[in-house]
């Protein structure tokens, strides 16, 4: 196991270098010049050259990339252009906890909603409950998260304007990892919407998986033995149905990261995805590079985690 993890960590290094190279190259050859952005209507050739030098942007490509990589190992991502002179590391420290919090809670909601619904649907397979269930799933599945988020926000604004004194916040995020009533008000709707946007996936997956397990021989044997249906469902089928779901957690990391762009954008949540979007708009390449590396590392670690989990859940693999 340790050997395996070590190997994956070396692979991670490789991936990070690849990802940084792609991002860095993109930023280097990008048509929008951050220095020009900085100077705006005060652009003069002299000021431009002076600032370019001050930000070390007049160095050759490989020199800049080398500096960037060595900085990375010192956790020094350079300085932001947009937040003038602010260390990118500080910006990350602000954004990452928010995104992690949002993502984790959303995942909890997705699993807590999705798996029971899916399993319930499987047990009630081919009844009207199953049909309605799956119809709703399908609709939510077909509605992209940005559509859900936009509508939810507008609905909330309408509620606020029609019920005086409700004052339920429609955007922003409370203090990360704090749960006073105000914080909960801020966080509840984005998390629920984020959860709603993804739970249909788990519901459908859980249903599929459960149906497959229920058709297995050993379930039939259990039934034949005269065991109670509930016991069959929960003792035998449920555990086995969970196995493929565990691996999916790694997918969800990629999914959570991507979904975050829309949720954070619509609800004005100062997470790392929204930071990336604003930086893209402002040609703030140091920040873009940093957030990309962080997101990539998160995804790779997610894969690693799911691989480890997988061996824990499925005893057959341990025996290998």
């Amino acid at each position: 196991m340790i050997q395996f993890i070590l190997k994956r960590l070396i692979g991670l290094l490789f991936v990070v270098i690849g990802v940084t190279f792609i991002t860095f190259t993109m930023g280097y050859f990008a048509p929008d010049d951050p220095i020009k952005q900085l100077l705006g209507q005060h652009y003069t050739q002299e000021a431009y050259l002076q600032l370019k030098h001050a930000y070390h942007l007049d160095l050759p490509f490989f020199q800049q990339y080398y500096n960037f990589l060595t900085g990375l190992f010192r956790l020094d991502f350079g300085l932001s252009f947009q937040s003038k002179g602010r260390a990118v590391w500080d910006i990350l420290k602000d954004g990452v906890p928010v995104s992690v919090e949002l993502g984790l809670w959303a995942l909890v909601v997705q699993l807590a909603l999705g798996i029971p619904l899916g399993i319930y649907s499987a047990i009630k397979a081919r009844t009207w409950i199953d049909t309605t269930n799956m119809l709703v799933m399908l609709i939510i599945y077909a509605l992209p998260s940005f559509v859900l988020a936009t509508f939810a926000q507008i609905a909330l604004v309408s509620l606020d304007t029609s019920i005086p004194g409700l004052n339920w916040p429609v955007s922003n995020w409370g203090t990360p990892w704090h749960y006073t009533w105000t914080d909960i008000q801020y966080k509840l709707v984005p998390i629920l919407i984020y959860g709603a946007a993804g739970f249909a996936y788990y519901a459908r997956l859980a249903r599929t998986s459960m149906l497959e397990v229920l058709s297995q021989d050993y379930i039939r044997t259990a039934r034949a033995k005269g065991l109670f249906e509930k016991a069959i469902t929960f003792r035998h089928a449920f555990r086995n149905a969970l196995i493929p779901l565990v691996t999916v957690i790694s997918v969800s990391l990629g999914f959570l990261v991507s979904g975050a762009f829309f949720i954070e954008h619509v609800f004005n949540i100062p997470g790392i995805a929204e930071t990336t979007l604003t930086s893209v708009g402002a040609s703030d390449y140091p920040v873009i590079q940093a957030t990309t590396v962080v997101l990539a590392i998160a995804v790779v670690f997610g894969n690693l985690l799911s691989d480890i989990l997988y061996t824990v859940v499925d005893p057959r693999i341990k025996s290998e």
Partner: protein
């Protein structure tokens, strides 16, 4: 796994519509904000909190020496002050300085500070701090972060050398501390606008001990020691890069103290988000997104003030036949600015043919649009002038050269504006102007490149926001001989009227240094009218600041430069609601 199988696809559109309607139909249409409530009784102290939404994820910088954007400057204005500052009517008023004298033919400014000035942490503020601040703003370390110091402080002796590092300090040469209450600034050139430039945050006084203690990150420590680093009407209670800034009154402030107990400066990344939050009573003030403007204008809490920003079409005098005055005027008269603003900008902005904007010293209410018309233009006259111009230039509509109108692709509205203008020229004058879009940054670069040349820009959509509210910023810095922004090549071309243009440039120089305010105004008005008739700019609209403000916020008044003068905060309070 064959989950979808049993469901008929046909049901879905209906269901989706229902879903959407259900989600959004819950009660739209009610106008919040207590229409017509005119209660001005001051609310309890606990309610004296003003929640101010701004339109960025975070302010760009809290450092007065670095900031150049409005959002940051609004925050800086709360906690920092300068020697002189603008009042609500944009007149220059002494601020930290009690008075000032100008001597040596306008080359020496002597500022006498108020007595017993203190920073918000109670430490003494004197002339040395003023000198330190100016020198710091000019130092390469600070100037290299945004490159604006020379725009505002470049006239100070040795300033350019200081920014390149050739000179280690301007203290003693450009800025002299005569005694703890007197600071003398020496200039290399006499101008009337130097005081105006000093009103910009670049020279707002910062606390040396704080800056030196925390280095680059000093602005992150403004809330330490009970609020330090500045001297404004407010001090920082909390500064968080994601949740915003909390200000509380500064007990050591030397002017009238604010009534508010707290100001929360809250980040919203765009207008739409802050607007929604305003409707949900999360904030007390918001910008209005363009699509909502029409609807918002009828609301009782609608609020608008002129802002010193003018958008215009630049026309390069070095491009034929744009050097012909009749063709220039024809192109101006062919445009109906009211329709343009309506079609492209949701009617949110003010159609305009002025160069000096409304709301500042130098504005001329009697100004006439080119050819004596108004903002609607004059189609008939446009055609007449165009025929005449074509004849003079030896052209016909068929041989009219290919002219390109360039615009910045920052917003779809600008693209819409360009399309509308091109359409008007086509339908009125019968000529086809091409359009092309470039990024805003490329636009700035190309403007600089176009100076003295016939390209890359021929005609372009541009805007100018006042650096300081003096006509010089709009006239001499735009159209003067060798002015940094003269991409129109006014006075530097082969047109038949170039001699007149050069003469006008001389008048600008004279007006810049006139000391009699009334006479100066009159001269500028005359110059502006001539520039408008020459179509030196083809102004389209002035952009006002439009916002919603909760009716219970009493006394809030923005100047045309979109900020609130330090002493005016004393008039702002929250009424019972």
């Amino acid at each position: 796994m064959r989950s979808g199988k049993k469901i008929t696809t046909m049901l879905l559109p209906t269901l989706l519509c229902l879903f959407g309607v259900l989600l959004s139909a819950c009660g739209g249409g009610a106008v919040p904000g207590g229409a017509g409530s005119t209660n001005t009784t001051k609310a309890d102290a606990s309610q004296q909190v003003y929640r101010w939404a701004f339109r960025l994820p975070d302010i760009a910088s809290f450092d007065p020496g670095i900031s150049t954007d409005n959002t940051s400057i609004q925050a800086i204005n709360m906690a920092f002050t300068g020697l002189v500052q603008l009042d609500e009517q944009l007149n220059i008023k002494p601020q930290l300085a009690e008075s000032y004298d100008v001597s040596d033919k306008g080359l020496t400014y002597t500022f006498h500070l108020r007595p017993n000035l203190k920073f918000s942490d109670g430490k003494k503020l004197d002339a040395n701090d003023v000198a330190y601040t100016i020198d710091r703003a000019l130092s390469p370390e600070i100037n290299d972060q945004s490159g604006v110091a020379l725009t505002y402080l470049g006239l100070i002796k040795d300033a350019p050398e200081r920014t390149t590092g050739k000179v280690k300090s301007v203290i003693g040469t450009g800025v002299i501390v005569k005694d703890p209450n007197t600071v003398v600034i020496k200039l290399t050139k006499a101008t009337a606008y130097f005081l105006g430039a000093l009103t910009y945050p670049t020279s707002y006084v910062v606390e040396k001990s704080v800056v030196e203690k925390y280095g680059n990150k000093w602005t992150d420590h403004l809330a330490d020691n009970g609020g330090q680093g500045g001297d404004g009407p407010f001090k920082v209670k909390e500064y968080n890069h994601t949740t915003g800034i909390k200000f509380v009154p500064n007990d050591n402030y030397y002017g009238k103290k604010p009534q508010l107990k707290e100001v929360d400066y809250l980040p919203y990344k765009d207008r739409q988000t802050s607007y929604n939050s305003y409707l949900a009573d999360q904030v007390d003030i918001t910008d209005i997104p363009l699509p909502q403007v029409r609807q918002a204008k009828s609301r009782p809490d609608f609020n608008q003030n002129d802002s010193l920003t003018i958008f215009y079409i630049g026309m390069n005098y070095k491009v034929k036949p744009l050097d012909n005055i009749n063709i220039r005027q024809a192109m101006a008269l062919a445009l109906d600015r009211d329709t343009i603003v309506k079609a492209a900008w949701q009617g949110a902005y003010t159609p305009n043919c002025h160069i000096i904007p409304k709301g500042q010293y130098g504005y001329n209410p009697d100004l006439k649009c080119p050819g004596g018309s108004d903002t609607h233009g004059d189609k008939k006259k446009a055609v007449e002038l165009f025929e005449k111009g074509l004849q003079e230039a030896g052209l016909t509509r068929q041989t009219f050269p290919q002219i390109t109108l360039t615009y910045a692709n920052q917003s779809p509205e600008a693209a819409n504006e360009a399309a509308t203008e091109v359409q008007m020229w086509k339908s009125v004058l019968g000529i086809t102007i091409n359009t092309t879009s470039i990024s805003q940054n490329t636009m700035y670069t190309q403007q600089a490149q176009t100076q003295g040349k016939d390209g890359p820009l021929q005609m372009w959509l541009a805007g100018w926001g006042a650096d300081f509210p003096d006509p010089e910023d709009w006239i001499s810095l735009q159209f003067g001989a060798g002015a940094p922004n003269n991409a129109y090549n006014y006075g530097d071309n082969n047109s038949s009227s170039v001699a007149n243009q050069k003469d006008l440039q001389k008048q600008m120089l004279a007006a810049d240094v006139m000391s009699d305010k009334a006479a100066r105004l009159k001269t500028y008005n005359k110059i502006e009218q001539q520039l408008v008739d020459d179509v030196a700019w083809l102004p389209i609209y002035q952009r006002p600041d439009i916002r919603l403000v909760k009716p219970y916020v009493i006394g809030l008044k923005f100047s045309a430069a979109s900020f609130i003068p330090p002493d005016s905060w004393a008039n702002v309070y929250i009424a019972q609601h």
